[in-house]
Symmetry: C2
Subunit: 664 residues, 2 copies
């Protein structure tokens, strides 16, 4: 610790401030992860003080560099950095109230709670995978709006856990393929996971693995500021994404816990903290930061403010200013709905019989033309999902990011996390396709989108046993229920081309959470012919009133609505008046006021739900006494048209059950 | 095609038989994937005729080699092989009825439908990840029962899609770490995915990637039988798992479609099929296999039968015979329940206050001692999940597979798929731990376990907002509902140490599907003191009758049961008689007969459900009018004890709601 140069002393003090705040906050909360912030304090200090472009006074500055703490358990690292660099919201009181009710300094960094936190992390592997979306959004917007307005980088700190999660492979292979060279990952190579040394469970040569995926890899001592600086400089010149393997000691400076899993996930204890202060050469009390250290930490933000000001001048003079600001604000292009209404009217008139995945493609035509921020894609199922339109036909490729279609490959989870990153970056609206059954593969990322309240849209085609011959592995049965279960997630299951158009309208307007469109493989007839009002807006509505005073209510979604319609006719012949309710979005319907719900479902009428999925969730409308025609097992492999009768999902079954319920 | 040696001619005919059956069956079904079986027919012919050890007369022979078609869409490859090699169930009629209702030749190979299909595949990446479990089970059982009884290999055919899925990284890094050298993956390196050339979405250097994960890699021409044979021979000598990159042409021999995505997922068409017959030198009609080709294909099975007979002799003379047969049959060790009853009795007497994850560990003590097939593990959370016991404390390591604890690493999805492989192999009962919120990461594998009706057990700890400070990213809210939604999956949420013991008993006895134990991080008091009968067996039961004629029923699960108990007391003081129902497994309860359900829930009594999760699912018991005290949003970061009142999940809230319901 002797004979340090002034800059070395400064680095030590700045790094110590992070480490001290981290161990003090965890100690006070009696909960948290001190080891990682202590181990990565050196690297983070260099990154934030010499490279990262940011303006603490405007955390949402569009051209800031993005910093993503993929190893989210080390949240005190980012809270310390935000506090020290002058983000006003992150006060010392917030640091002291780490992990307490009502504080913004949650256990894991949460987007929307803390200015400067770009994405919610904690579930491992998500941050590094979001980062691909951030880096891709940057290149895409750069291609559209030019260097003057969009010219920033994405930095990630990831741990061993992030790299062991499979999603990280999807992310790094996509980033490498697309040559996202403005993406830099600092790997906290501390050789420790929760259960002990990494060698308990892994022997991967990460350098070789990343190189195999098209990355540049630099290996350094993560505690040597000069090495960190030179690696970050080198990364800036790379034509590939760069992984900097920072060899570090977890809990750096803690005499009895450094380098072990004991430093990972619990407070160090008063004695160990005192000894660590001693070892690291930091003589200040708990939560005490000397003014001169605050001064050092203010400089990078001041540099950023200058850059921000220059950028603001460029923006003011840019021909793209209005459009750029609109896109970044998340506002939809002016006049889009007028054009779209014309499309809806034409569908109402044509009443086409077609698969809803096909009508989705038709709706996407005028939508993607009008809504220029929409970025399409598919997890290697473009021909099935039909997400590509003429406006989005140009494909994004390595070195050419102007297109609006992303070939995500067979990477559903990586795709979903990338979409989160795209949405979080701003300026684009990501939507993409996959088989609905594989929503299971990307569920953790969908959940995070819901938690973060960001807009992502899933085109989930092949939504039932209607999949047919591919069989039960490819047939969603429980997926409507399990997706509806995620808070703040809307699952739409439109019945025909017009409902598809209406649900798409709702999905693009929904800025505060993910939307999923569940769409058929097979043809379905039109059930409505009037596009005056978006009937899907309240989740469910009376599609066809009974003929006479209603005896029973038939509630259906998607491909089963036309069965209910047919049953309505057949029942009328038997003197039974059946009301048909179309329920394209149960999530939304359950949020309506009681009087609307009552107006749709009637009072004390017997009810039957028809949906080619499981019953779970529908009892909220029909209770134990309600009738249900759907699935209670996995599907089977056979032509789709044979499977519906095989599993008893037919017009006749509805009629029989209705007659029994009404006539007893 | 001229001047072929006899063995070359034989190879060509055998390979052509596969290709022809594949394209003919897909054509007749007018659905399916001909390209992959045609491209891999050469490699598969060499594997099955010269390496694979199997006995078509006894597809379940314990010491057979396992063959896993990870690229499950190429199902006609395996159906062709099973038919040609003489598996009786796979008749030519079954081939002709490919993908039809009631046939065993489903669109994707389904375990349990077809003898010789070792695991259900189709969802990409699953088969290669199951294979790690197969290969690990083999080494473990070899360590226990010796070379005489257990000495086989696991072969996989995987495609580009399998390798792009993140789960494959988890699988190959685990296999490489454990040096599972009896695992051989043949990669169908055909450069094609559904949307087109792999280069649309991926540039991974797979050789380097696998080497980085500790694999041996051999690159060959997948159509050159000699190269395939020499690579497979080399693999047998490797001290690492081996990946053989087979450069192939998808749809080999189809003049207009070979090497393109047009050969992937739809029938070739009559003209193209005729031209392919010509090009491949196969002059026989559709579904026509000449006797001499059948003869050639019968030989490998005959070799296998000899080996099987020798093995049976060894088994007969083995000291391990009885134990080995018991384990492989899936029967539990004799007398286990007697010993376990003693444990349950002691718990009933002690009435400990403890976290259910801790009482799970206590129950596992006597269980793992008595049930010697149980293999433990955790996704890097042993200290939290508490899955290790003294009987399972020895860890499985590279080269030493005798232990009963697997360090799965931060790989929930790979772990779940590995557990499926372990269970499918037989001889072991896999159980393992993870944070419950991360059940989302492994959901696709859980679903397959349910579909395959195999036994895997998840120790899902930290099951609610009781997680506390780690916050909403780590707090399950919708997970109880979403897990209950999966058909044939039982989610147990025991209330105290005794219910934990009972649920564990049910889970180890449940051989036909996955069980999940949802367990608390936080302490909970005991709610029962009588272990005479396993009360959890029917899913729910009356824990405490009302004091007097019942006014209301309080239904709760897990950590909320004691709140209902407290409310019962408080209500009694107000003259309200509340029955308390404990509902450790809603899945099981809903399967009970109506009279039992009625006996537990009463007739027309008002009801309140208390569970620190979402309402979805519970309406099946309580309908729209029922009361619910639980969550309707994501959680928050704060000490767990503060979060329950914060979200209104308290005894007082139950009492208030109950009084309102009863007294109006």
């Amino acid at each position: 610790m002797t004979d340090l140069s002034k800059s070395q002393q400064e680095h030590r003090d700045m790094s110590n401030a992070i480490a001290a705040l981290s161990m003090d906050a965890v100690e006070k909360a009696n909960s948290g992860h001190p080891g990682m912030p202590m181990g990565m304090a050196d690297a983070a200090t260099v990154l934030f003080s010499k490279f990262l472009k940011f303006d603490p006074a405007d955390p949402n500055w569009a051209d800031r560099d993005r910093f993503i703490l993929s190893a989210g358990h080390g949240s005190m690292l980012i809270y310390s950095l935000l506090h020290l660099t002058g983000y006003e919201a992150v006060t010392m009181d917030q640091i002291k109230n780490f992990r307490q009710l009502g504080s913004i300094t949650a256990g894991h960094p949460e987007y929307g709670h803390v200015p400067g936190v770009e994405t919610t992390t904690g579930p491992l592997g998500q941050g590094i995978s979001n980062a691909v979306g951030f880096a891709l959004a940057e290149r895409h917007l750069n291609a559209r709006y030019g260097d003057d307005l969009v010219d920033h980088r994405t930095y990630v700190i990831a741990g061993d856990g992030c790299l062991m999660e499979g999603i990280s492979q999807e992310a790094i292979s996509l980033a490498g393929h697309l040559k996202l060279n403005r993406l830099t990952v600092l790997w906290d190579d501390n050789n420790i996971t929760i259960d002990g040394p990494v060698s308990l469970s892994d022997s991967t040569i990460q350098k070789k693995r990343f190189e195999a995926s098209g990355w540049k890899v630099i290996e350094i001592d993560g505690h040597d500021a000069d090495q960190v600086e030179s690696a970050l400089s080198e990364a800036q010149k790379s034509d590939k994404p760069t992984m900097i393997a920072c060899k570090t000691a977890i809990g750096k400076g803690a005499p009895n816990k450094e380098g072990t899993n004991k430093a990972h996930g619990s407070p160090l204890g008063a004695d160990e903290i005192a000894a660590t202060r001693e070892a690291r050469g930091w003589s200040h009390g708990a939560f005490e930061i000397p003014d001169d250290v605050y001064e050092m930490w203010k400089k990078p933000g001041q540099e950023g403010q200058k850059a921000h000001k220059e950028w603001a001048d460029r923006l003011q003079n840019s021909e793209h200013a209005a459009e750029f600001n609109r896109a970044m604000s998340g506002e939809l292009n002016e006049g889009w709905l007028d054009k779209y209404q014309a499309y809806k009217d034409s569908v109402a008139q044509d009443k086409p019989t077609m698969a809803t995945r096909v009508s989705s493609n038709k709706a996407l035509g005028p939508l993607t033309e009008a809504l220029t921020d929409m970025i399409s894609g598919s997890a290697d199922l473009e021909g099935s999902n039909k997400t590509k339109t003429s406006a989005t036909s140009q494909e994004i490729q390595a070195g050419d990011y102007a297109g609006r279609y992303i070939n995500y490959g067979v990477r559903e989870h990586g795709m979903a996390a990338c979409m989160n990153g795209l949405a979080l970056h701003g300026g684009v609206i990501p939507y993409s396709g996959l088989f609905m059954v594989f929503m299971d593969y990307c569920r953790p990322s969908v959940r995070l989108a819901a938690l973060m309240e960001i807009q992502t849209i899933y085109v989930a085609t092949h939504d039932s046993i209607g999949v047919g011959e591919d069989g039960p592995t490819h047939q969603p049965v429980e997926h409507l229920a399990s997706l509806r279960a995620i808070p703040n997630t809307f699952t739409y299951r439109p019945a025909d081309a017009l409902e598809v158009a209406e649900c798409w309208e709702l999905a693009v307007r929904r800025k505060i959470g993910p939307s999923i469109l569940a769409l058929t493989r097979q043809n379905v007839p039109a059930v409505r012919d009037d596009a005056t009002k978006n009937m899907c807006e309240r989740g469910g509505y009376v599609l066809t009133p009974g003929k006479g005073a209603d005896d029973i209510v038939l509630i259906a979604s998607g491909s089963e609505v036309h069965l209910a319609q047919e049953a309505h006719e057949a029942l009328a012949e038997q003197g039974v008046s059946a009301r048909v309710v179309s329920m394209p979005c149960l999530d939304v319907f359950l949020e309506q006021d009681e009087s609307y719900i009552r107006s749709v479902l009637g009072k004390d009428l017997p009810k039957i739900v028809v949906e080619a999925g499981i019953r779970q969730g529908w009892d909220a409308l029909i209770g134990r006494d309600g009738g249900f025609i759907g699935m209670d097992s996995f599907g089977a492999s056979a032509p789709g048209a044979e499977l519906f009768p095989h599993f008893g999902i037919t017009t006749e079954a509805i009629v029989d059950m209705a007659v029994k319920k009404v006539k007893g």
